[in-house]
Structure formats: structure tokens, C-alpha cells
């Protein structure tokens, strides 16, 4: 039974050692285990809702070829795109600037708190870190009060609504952008600070002697060296803000400014029952942008984590 590839004295099967066969068996099993929910979701999302009840959700809709599996239909995806369209647009309007602002400001704050030395910076830094530990629930009421009663953002925004592409309800998204930027700042600062502590002090001093101002050192030395960390922070913040529901419910509450997570809550639910294919299609559609971000920035993310 022994072959050239197997180790001496080991059992083998078709030229592969038994160890390998078991290993691949377990790996394949785990792969199936992890992929089944997604596969089920995808299959469910392409079944005609009318033929869904009683079918096996993880089987492809092959009726009438295979009875009991439901008929194929893109109707759920059509419904999801119609139902979530506005929410997706709102989410993009929210997430892109909020992610960029929190990353950029976090990087600047970390630069000021790490690379430049000045009296009292540790105290300020501790305030930043403390921000990480404030629970979301504790700020919900103050947040509503702040945006609805303290800051007249809505009134400021009204005249801007005459501009192209600007709607009056966008003020809520602006409020959300600022809130997410502020809330993301501590963790972004922490991540960038860890990165900046590893940069050579002598390099910054060399730049000072070369005549560069603090702003120039940031722009020409620190910022280009932060790109791997920006990938990490952008992926992290994008996912956090895209998936957030709590702040959206608190600040947007309801109406045209609702983001995709809010729309997702109610889609496919009615008194006549739950439209599972529609809900599955909507969930996949809502998750798609975060998936794309991981695919496009994944290699940079790995570099940044290793940096």
C-alpha cells in the first residue's frame, strides 16, 4: 500500500496518506458548514415567493424538473432593489464621507498626539481613549436633543435645498455623518497612534531640520507612510457605519433619509406573512457593499494589520 508520497509505515489511499485524506475531509466539512447559510440565502433569494412555502431552502429552485424545490424567479431581487434603492443611496451618502472624515481626522489627531510633543498631550489622549468606552445607549437621548433642539442644522439646511442633488432631508444624513465621525474618532486615533509610535523620531527630526513645518511633515512624510493603516481604518469604519442601525434610528428616526439598515428591518414583512425570498435578497443586497470593500481593500488591509 505504501507509495512514494506517503511517509514510511503510513496508511495511504489512492496515493494520498490517510492523514491528508482526513485533513481534507475535515476542511471540506468546515467549508460546507460555513458556506451553507450563504448558499441557503442565495437559493432562497431566487425562488418565486409564491412557490416558496414548503420547499427546501438550500436546494436550487429547479421546479418543474425537481418537484418541491420552488420555481426560479428574479422577482425577489427586483423587489429588494426597489425597496432598498433609496436606503442604499442614503447609506452611501452617509458612509463615504463619514469613513473618510473619521480616518483623516483620526490620523491627524494621532499625529498631533504622538509625533509632535507638547505639554498636556497625555491628558488629551486619555480623553480620546475614554471616548471608546462610552456606551452607545448612554448618548442616545442627548444625541436626539442635540440634533433636534440644540443645533439648528435643519434650519441651516433649508436654503441649501435649492441646489441640485440636495434635498431638505439630507440634513439628517449630515447629522449622522458628524455623529459617526465623532464616535469613530477615538478608535481611529488609537489605531493610527500605534502605527505612528513605530515611525522613526529621527526621520521626523530630519524633516524638521530640512525646514518642513508641522503641516508639511504631516502631508509629505506621515500621510504617505500611513496608507496601509488607512486601509485598515477605512474597512473597519466603513463596515461599522454601514451596519449601524442604532444611530440611524435615533437621528433619522423615519422618512426619506432612512438608511439601508432601517429599510431592511421592514422589507418583506406584512400582515399576510413574511416574504422570505424578498428578505433574503434584501439582506444580501445590503451586505454587498461591505463585501466589495473587503474584496478591493483586503490585500492592503492585510498589509496594514501586519505593519
Amino acid at each position: 500500500m505504501s507509495t512514494e508520497t506517503g511517509r514510511v509505515g503510513e496508511w495511504s489511499l489512492f496515493g494520498h496518506s490517510l492523514r491528508r485524506v482526513v485533513l481534507y475531509g475535515i476542511l471540506a466539512g468546515m467549508g460546507v458548514f460555513y458556506l451553507i447559510p450563504i448558499e441557503t440565502g442565495i437559493m432562497t433569494s431566487i425562488i418565486n415567493p409564491a412557490s416558496y412555502t414548503g420547499s427546501f431552502p438550500y436546494l436550487p429552485p429547479l421546479e418543474p424538473l425537481v418537484p418541491g424545490t420552488g420555481t426560479f424567479s428574479l422577482e425577489p431581487w427586483q423587489g429588494a432593489i426597489d425597496g432598498l434603492g433609496q436606503g442604499l443611496v442614503n447609506s452611501v451618502i452617509l458612509v463615504v464621507p463619514a469613513t473618510i472624515f473619521s480616518g483623516l481626522l483620526g490620523s491627524m489627531a494621532a499625529f498631533g498626539l504622538t509625533t509632535i510633543s507638547w505639554r498636556g498631550q497625555i491628558g488629551i489622549y486619555i480623553l480620546f481613549v475614554a471616548g471608546i468606552f462610552i456606551p452607545y445607549q448612554a448618548v442616545l437621548v442627548p444625541l436626539t436633543q442635540f440634533w433636534y433642539n440644540v443645533v439648528p442644522l435643519q434650519a441651516v439646511f433649508e436654503p441649501l435645498a435649492v441646489l441640485p442633488f440636495v434635498q431638505e432631508y439630507h440634513w439628517k444624513l449630515v447629522a449622522l455623518i458628524i455623529t459617526h465621525t465623532a464616535y469613530g474618532l477615538p478608535i481611529c486615533t488609537l489605531l493610527f497612534r500605534a502605527h505612528y509610535k513605530k515611525l522613526s523620531d529621527e526621520m521626523v527630526e530630519a524633516a524638521q531640520l530640512d525646514g518642513a513645518s508641522v503641516a508639511t511633515i504631516y502631508r509629505r512624510i506621515i500621510l504617505p507612510l500611513s496608507i496601509p493603516m488607512f486601509a485598515v481604518v477605512f474597512i473597519y469604519q466603513f463596515t461599522q457605519i454601514w451596519n449601524d442601525l442604532l444611530f440611524a434610528l435615533t437621528i433619522v428616526q423615519f422618512g426619506d433619509a432612512a438608511v439601508v439598515t432601517q429599510d431592511l428591518v421592514g422589507i418583506g414583512v406584512s400582515q399576510s406573512g413574511t416574504n422570505f425570498p424578498l428578505r433574503m435578497a434584501a439582506a444580501l443586497l445590503a451586505a454587498l457593499p461591505t463585501l466589495l470593500v473587503y474584496i478591493f481593500f483586503g490585500d492592503k488591509f492585510a498589509k496594514g494589520v501586519a505593519a
Binding site: 522613526s200 527630526e205 524633516a207 531640520l209 530640512d210 525646514g211 518642513a212 504617505p224 507612510l225
Partner: protein, 384 residues
């Protein structure tokens, strides 16, 4: 290009618990236009802190630093017109060699792009790195990075160069080559330079003058040979020279020095210099000790000693000699002899301490009482 003056420069660091640490204590040096001054001392002696104060990277607690007659204590680093070469080279890793070198010109001058690239190309050619200008620092060897770091300083054409142990990350061979090249460059450019090192060989070979610092206090400023032959005190005598000077603690008994293991007669000039001191330290350089393989001691300055260890260096041998025979861990002193001399551990030899090669230091104050006689006596700048 200008003269650089340090006048009573002091740096006091305050620790978190309020403790004050004096890192640099009243250092005063005048560095002439175009001079190469080496600041040397053991780790933690304050030499880097001194350099960083000149650069503007540390504040000056007391005293005054002036460049070309202009007080620069409170000027930010960018306004001092000083270029610095760091031990780690501190190159900008994301920029090419050319970008590294042009950065300073872009930030500190009004030059146009063409003029900058012309300057960079000239300097790169001078440093022999013209083929590397499009590479990033990570793709360069240590020696090449070193050249880029020097080029980055030179291209700025500053009033003064500051170098903080720039050669210490290179291997021994390359270090020797760069030492010569750096000296040649500095002479060619004629830029006032302060060079910090802990390596006394670099200090001896490179500097027009060397300034020796210990525990934040300036011990001596002088030409390498002044410091070597006429040290101000015990510290300088022990620090300069490799292998180090031998020291013996001796009691003064009239015209005779009495030690644990031997006695040594003083000449009239020496005993005059010793004057009232009761205890002195006798110093003699290893290369001044004469070794006779045969015969026996028949004058007061000759001693019968045993060879404990021989360290061959090729050109010369370093002998560890001892008065204690048959002891497990004997007290030894060193002597250097020609590499061709055949001597082995255990040999009995006669060591002569020539009277003209003797240094005497006060055992309490460690100040030099008498230095070896030279054919051409040179005056040493005295530190008060």
C-alpha cells in the same frame, strides 16, 4: 559656512518626580569656520544632547549657542541653516533617493524645480550615488544609505553640519573607508562640522580638534595629539588611546613613588610637579613600555614581570603583564610590542618605564600634575 560658538551651554532634564538631571553642564567651545570638531565621550555623557541643542531639537536650559555671530538658542531647527546626519540615517522611506535629497531644498529655499534637480544631480555625482537616484532607501545597502544621508545634508549647503555617530552602523572595513572619505569631503566643502562619536579612533583620526565630554562636563578641547600626549586629567588619559593607558595608584615618599607592587623614582622636574600631593596615579601608555626578553632588572625604572596573556594583532602584540606570579587572577597592565616579537604566556621579561614617558595625576582631583615630555611641547587649551 560660519563659526559656531557654545558658551556655558547647560541642559537640565526634569523627571516626572521633580528630580533634576544635569545632562550637559556649562559646555563652552568655539568652533572656527570650516573646522572639524569631534565631540567624543562614553555613552550617556551628554554629547548627543549637546548636538541636539545645537540642532534645535532640544531646548537650551542655560547658556548661549551662536552661529555666525547670531544667537540661535530660540530659533526653530528650520531657521538655523544646519544639516544633520543621523545614526539611523533617517531617510524618508517612501521617497526615492532624489526626492530624499531634494526635500530640504524644496522646503527651505525658493529654488525652482530645475535648479533643485541640478543641485541634487551634482551632489549625487560627488557622492558617487548618481546611479541610485531613482531607488527607494529600502533597496539600498547600509553603505549606500549612509551616502544618501550625507548627500541629503550636503545638498542643502548649510552653515554647519552636525553628525551623530554616522558611521556606527557600518561594518569595520566600510567604516574605515568612509572615515577617510568624510574627512576629504569636509575639507573640500569647508563646512563647520560637529561630529559626535563614542569611538576614540574616529576622534583621533578625523578631527581637527576633539572635545572630550564626561558626565556632561567638558574635560578637554585640543588637537588629537594634544589630548593624546598632554591629557588634562585621568579621564582623558584613559579614554584616548587604544589599548588604554596603564594606571598605578602610588604613595609619594619624597622623590620616590611607592606602590603595592613596585617603587618608582621621580626626576626632579616630576617631584616638583607632584609638589604637596600625597597620593598620585602614575600613568604610562602601553606603547611606551619597553620590553626586554632577556636579562634582569638592574635600574630603578626596570621591573621583572611575567607575561600573562598575549593578544596578537598582526602588526603588534598586546601583552598583558603582571607583577604577581603564580596567582590565579593576577593584576595586569598592558604593553604593546612589535608583532614580530616571539613572546608567550608565562615568559619572564624585563619591562622598562622610561622616565620621560610617565604621566602623573593627582589621585584625589584626577587632574594631570605632570605629562610626558615631548620634543616640541604644545600648549593645551585649559578648561576652567
Amino acid at each position: 559656512m560660519a563659526e559656531l560658538t557654545l558658551d556655558g551651554v547647560t541642559k537640565v532634564f526634569t523627571e516626572d518626580d521633580g528630580n533634576e538631571i544635569v545632562a550637559v553642564d556649562e559646555v563652552s567651545v568655539d568652533i572656527e569656520d570650516g573646522e572639524f570638531l569631534v565631540l567624543v565621550g562614553p555613552s550617556g555623557c551628554g554629547k548627543s544632547t549637546t548636538l541636539r541643542m545645537v540642532a534645535g531639537l532640544e531646548t537650551v536650559t542655560r547658556g548661549e549657542i551662536s552661529l555666525a555671530g547670531r544667537r540661535i538658542n530660540d530659533s526653530p531647527p528650520a531657521e538655523r541653516d544646519i544639516a544633520m546626519v543621523f545614526q539611523s540615517y533617517a531617510l524618508y522611506p517612501h521617497m526615492t533617493v532624489a526626492q530624499n535629497m531634494s526635500f530640504g531644498l524644496e522646503e527651505s529655499t525658493e529654488m525652482g524645480d530645475d535648479e533643485i534637480s541640478e543641485h541634487v544631480a551634482d551632489t549625487a555625482a560627488m557622492m558617487g550615488i548618481e546611479d541610485l537616484v531613482d531607488r527607494k532607501p529600502a533597496d539600498l545597502s547600509g553603505g549606500q544609505q549612509q551616502r544618501v544621508a550625507l548627500g541629503r545634508a550636503i545638498v542643502r549647503d548649510p552653515e554647519a553640519f552636525l553628525m551623530d555617530e554616522p558611521l556606527s552602523n557600518l561594518d569595520a572595513k566600510l567604516r574605515a573607508t568612509m572615515r577617510t572619505e568624510l574627512q576629504r569631503l569636509q575639507e573640500e566643502l569647508g563646512v563647520t562640522t560637529i561630529y559626535v562619536t563614542h569611538d576614540q579612533t574616529e576622534a583621533m583620526t578625523m578631527g581637527d580638534r576633539i572635545a572630550i565630554l564626561d558626565d556632561g562636563v567638558l574635560q578637554q578641547v585640543g588637537t588629537p595629539l594634544e589630548c593624546y600626549h598632554t591629557p588634562n586629567n585621568l579621564f582623558v588619559a584613559g579614554f584616548i588611546g587604544d589599548p588604554s593607558m596603564n594606571f598605578f595608584e602610588m604613595d609619594v615618599d619624597g622623590d620616590l613613588l611607592v606602590g603595592d607592587r613596585f617603587e618608582y623614582p621621580l626626576t626632579s622636574a616630576q617631584s616638583e610637579a607632584v609638589d604637596e600631593a600625597r597620593r598620585v596615579t602614575l600613568g604610562i601608555r602601553p606603547e611606551d613600555i619597553e620590553i626586554e626578553a632577556d636579562g634582569s632588572a638592574d635600574s630603578p625604572s626596570e621591573f621583572d614581570v611575567a607575561v600573562d596573556v598575549v593578544e596578537p594583532r598582526g602588526d603588534e602584540n598586546t601583552l598583558h603583564l603582571t607583577f604577581d606570579r603564580g596567582v590565579d587572577e593576577p593584576v595586569t597592565f598592558t604593553a604593546t610590542v612589535s608583532g614580530l616579537r616571539q613572546l608567550q604566556a608565562g615568559d619572564s621579561v624585563v619591562a622598562t618605564f622610561p622616565p620621560e614617558a610617565i604621566h602623573l595625576f593627582d589621585a584625589d582631583t584626577e587632574a594631570a600634575l605632570h605629562n610626558r615630555s615631548l620634543d616640541v611641547p604644545e600648549a593645551t587649551e585649559q578648561i576652567v
